[in-house]
């Protein structure tokens, strides 16, 4: 959260400009920062090696798998699996579920993110000001987020069953609940359950953002005689831009990659309405043993994930820019 509280941050040795007035002498100023930045690069070696083993090697393997016909017949001699070129990609797009699943995954992620945003924001506003029992309310707000996804899925699957809690409650007010776990409604079931599980993440980031607004800002606004609405629109929301953007991007990535929730709610094969990308990849890989095809779909999903990821990287850099501006 320090990203959004530039004014709280003490000047550090890696600060890009020395004119904050640190202990650095005027004479060494031009050469100092450059040497300090390059000097400890070797310290990155362990992290770099880890990155290589944990990220680069599996990624390269996935790329390689995606252009081979790796399946149950070739798994044993996996290094010799026949080369297919773009065959798996073509199959995934033409006869496979890729396009449908991509569309579903995107729609699901965007909708869920859009729904969690106002919820999280409202909850952050509610839990920000001091009141009796605030600690309890804050803890309760976090429950959906700290529950393992598997538990969330299981509980909701039971609650949304034909004789489950949801239909019982709806029935008591005269509404026939119907089927939540089969048919056209499954997509909305998935969106609603994931919204329920994911909004506290937005709430957390927003609350942290709210807390980083200094007391003196509030005091100055009060002295100026601004109303609550003016303060919210002109002061609070603009300073929440950073955390909100982060929340949106990270939440979208979470939803795109969520395998456990749809799997526990609907199983595999899943209804077509919820056959999101992670489920489609699981099915190709572990139910029909088409590892090459599944790898191709994984690479496609990686491209999909890269889009919000690029926004994320940009957003991080954007914040650094703000930081410079604030300090200048």
């Amino acid at each position: 959260m320090s990203l959004t509280s530039p004014t709280d941050r003490p000047p550090t040795a890696t600060a890009p400009t020395g004119d904050v007035g640190g202990p650095v002498g005027a004479g060494v100023r031009p050469a100092g920062p450059t040497r300090r930045r390059q000097g400890p690069l070797w310290l990155m070696t362990p992290g770099g090696l880890l990155l290589l083993v944990v990220v680069v090697v599996p990624f390269v393997l996935a790329l390689w798998m995606s252009v081979t016909d790796l399946d149950q017949y070739t798994l044993r001699q996996w290094a010799g699996a026949p080369f297919l070129g773009l065959g798996n990609y073509v199959e995934a797009v033409t006869t496979g579920p890729l396009l449908h699943s991509v569309w579903l995954s995107v729609a699901f992620s965007v909708l869920t993110t859009v729904l969690t945003l106002p919820l999280g924001l409202a909850a952050a506003f509610a839990a920000h000001d001091r009141f009796r029992g605030r600690a309890l309310v804050r803890s309760i707000f976090l429950i959906p987020y700290v529950l393992p996804t598997f538990v969330v899925g299981t509980v909701w699957r039971i609650a949304l069953g034909p004789d489950g809690a949801v239909n019982t409650v709806l029935g008591s007010v005269g509404i026939a609940g119907g089927n939540w776990l089969i048919g056209d409604r499954t997509f909305w079931t998935l969106v609603l359950v994931d919204t329920w599980a994911a909004w506290p993440f937005v709430y957390l980031l927003c609350l942290a953002g709210l807390q980083s607004i200094g007391r003196e800002v509030h005091e100055a606004v009060a002295v100026d005689g601004a109303t609550w609405w003016q303060k919210t629109v002109h002061i609070v929301l603009p300073s929440l831009r950073g955390p909100l953007l982060l929340a949106v991007i990270i939440a979208t990535l979470h939803h795109l990659n969520n395998f456990t929730l749809p799997f526990v709610l609907f199983g595999s094969p899943a209804p077509d309405q919820v056959n999101v990308l992670p489920l489609a990849i699981y099915s190709a890989s572990f139910q029909t043993f088409r590892f090459g095809l599944a790898a191709a779909m994984s690479v496609a999903s990686l491209v999909l994930v890269l889009i919000p990821l690029l926004f994320y990287l940009r957003a991080v850099r954007l914040d650094t820019g703000l930081e410079k501006g604030a300090q200048a």
Partner: protein, 448 residues
């Protein structure tokens, strides 16, 4: 965060490959004196009987040490995906358990990987010979007698269970022998919130078994040689009958669109359904504690398909698949002789009878099966069904076909719950599945 995103997506599939380097290894050696050797066995967890399984493992360990001087190390899996990962990791890395317990319908896939020991006469003799086993259970050991990898370990035939009290009250003499008779009986037994037949339309496995069974009875084995016959009219007819129990005959509780096998069992156990098909002797512990404890009986399912008064020409009187568990020995294992001695032990008459008594499955050992049948009248129809069991097509394409057949039911659930499944929806999916299946069958043929 970005690195974790990368990992989650790119690494999900390669995890088996990257784990290869750290897969568990089995101890080397082999032959001669077996003392000091350790055999690793990977088997399914008996979730219903955890304590009993611990005791059984200890019993086998003791017996095996007495017999060979070697130790046995057991590892259990609780889900199919856990089992898959272990097998895939071991196959890729060439190290892992010496013996795996795998399901009969997964055996064709395991066979096609070429990662398991082929059983010739010498190997069969080491485990007591083919004659030791109930003949039908050998049908899923391999594509033909010369190419087998699986030794039967347990048998779980699918049968019909019916409420004898409700049958008597409705004046029905005994279990039906044709599916039309079953429907007629069920109509008599359907009253108010009590239904003639419990169904598990939402089960992850049951649906394809019905389609396979009806298609067989109509004369279509689904895969004939190197030809997939999914778009054959008999398959559409099978779905029509299967969905029709609910939509046309109205002998099934509409809630069944949300039921898996356990839910349908619970409904039968509460006395709200008079029959439940495609079930097994595994429901005995549940039924024993239920209101119907003294009023149920098993029977083989009818062998004459829906809409027919006799088995059609070319039809096969199939009711249950050859169901249960096989034992396979890894071809990378350095102690295959020892592994076969283990298989010999657990498929012996005494051990099979004991295993059956403890866990409620049926023996694959012919002598043990006879002993169990004479001891418990309840089991006789189940054993009979097991003897008549028919194998599913032994092709590497089967997993694809099985999943596709189940998927058609999954996509039809919404229609089922609203009262009708559009026939063109099923037909369109069957046409698609035909292509997928034929491609998979061709691939399997090319790989052999």
């Amino acid at each position: 965060m970005s690195t974790r995103r990368f990992l989650a997506v790119a690494g999900a599939l390669t995890v088996a490959v990257s784990l290869a380097a750290c897969g568990g290894g089995s101890s080397g050696g082999g032959g001669g004196d077996h003392a000091g050797q350790t055999l690793q066995v990977y088997l399914s967890k008996q979730s219903q009987y955890p304590d009993e399984q611990q005791q059984w493992m200890q019993r086998i360990k003791d017996e095996f040490r007495k017999k060979t001087g070697a130790d046995v190390e057991f590892e259990t899996y609780t889900s199919a995906s856990e089992e898959q990962q272990k097998i895939q990791t071991s196959v890729v890395s060439g190290q892992g358990p010496d013996i795996y317990e795998i399901g009969t319908t997964f055996t064709p896939t395991a066979y096609s990987s070429g990662a398991f020991l082929k059983l010739g006469d010498e190997q069969w003799n080491a485990v007591g010979g083919r004659d030791r086993f109930v003949p039908s259970t050998l049908a899923m050991s391999g594509p033909d007698e010369a190419d087998q990898i699986g030794v039967p370990f347990s048998s779980i035939p699918f049968v019909l269970v019916y409420n004898t009290q409700m049958f008597a009250a409705a004046g029905i003499d005994g279990p039906p022998s044709t599916w039309d008779e079953l429907v007629a009986d069920a109509k008599k037994l359907t009253q108010g919130d009590t239904y003639g037949l419990a169904m598990d339309y939402k089960d992850p496995f049951s649906p394809w078994k019905y389609i396979w069974m009806f298609a067989q009875q109509y004369g279509n084995p689904l895969v004939q040689g190197t030809t997939a016959r999914i778009d054959d009219p008999t398959v559409a007819r099978a779905y029509d009958a299967y969905f029709g129990f609910l939509t046309k005959d109205k002998i099934v509780n509409p809630d069944a669109v949300n039921w898996a096998s356990a839910d349908a069992t619970a409904n039968f156990a509460s006395g709200k359904s008079a029959m439940f098909t495609m079930t097994s002797a595994g429901v005995i512990p549940t039924l024993a504690k239920s209101p119907v404890a003294s009023s149920y009986a098993f029977a083989p399912m009818p062998t004459v398909p829906p809409g027919e008064s006799a088995l059609p020409a070319g039809g096969v009187p199939a009711t249950t698949i050859v169901s249960g568990q096989n034992l396979v020995v890894a071809s990378y294992s350095t102690q295959q002789d020892l592994a076969l001695q283990y298989v010999d032990l657990v498929t012996s008459e005494a051990e099979q009878q004991h295993f059956s008594e403890v866990f409620g499955v049926l023996p694959v050992n012919a002598a043990a099966a006879d002993a169990v049948a004479s001891g418990k009248e309840q089991y006789a129809p189940v054993l009979e069904a097991g003897k008549q069991a028919k194998p599913t097509p032994f092709t590497g394409a089967w997993s694809e076909i099985q999943l596709g057949l189940t998927n058609i039911t999954v996509q039809a659930l919404a229609g089922l719950s609203s009262g009708s499944v559009p026939p063109d929806q099923v037909q369109r999916q069957l046409t698609e599945l035909q292509q997928t299946a034929q491609t998979a069958v061709d691939k399997a043929a090319a790989a052999r």
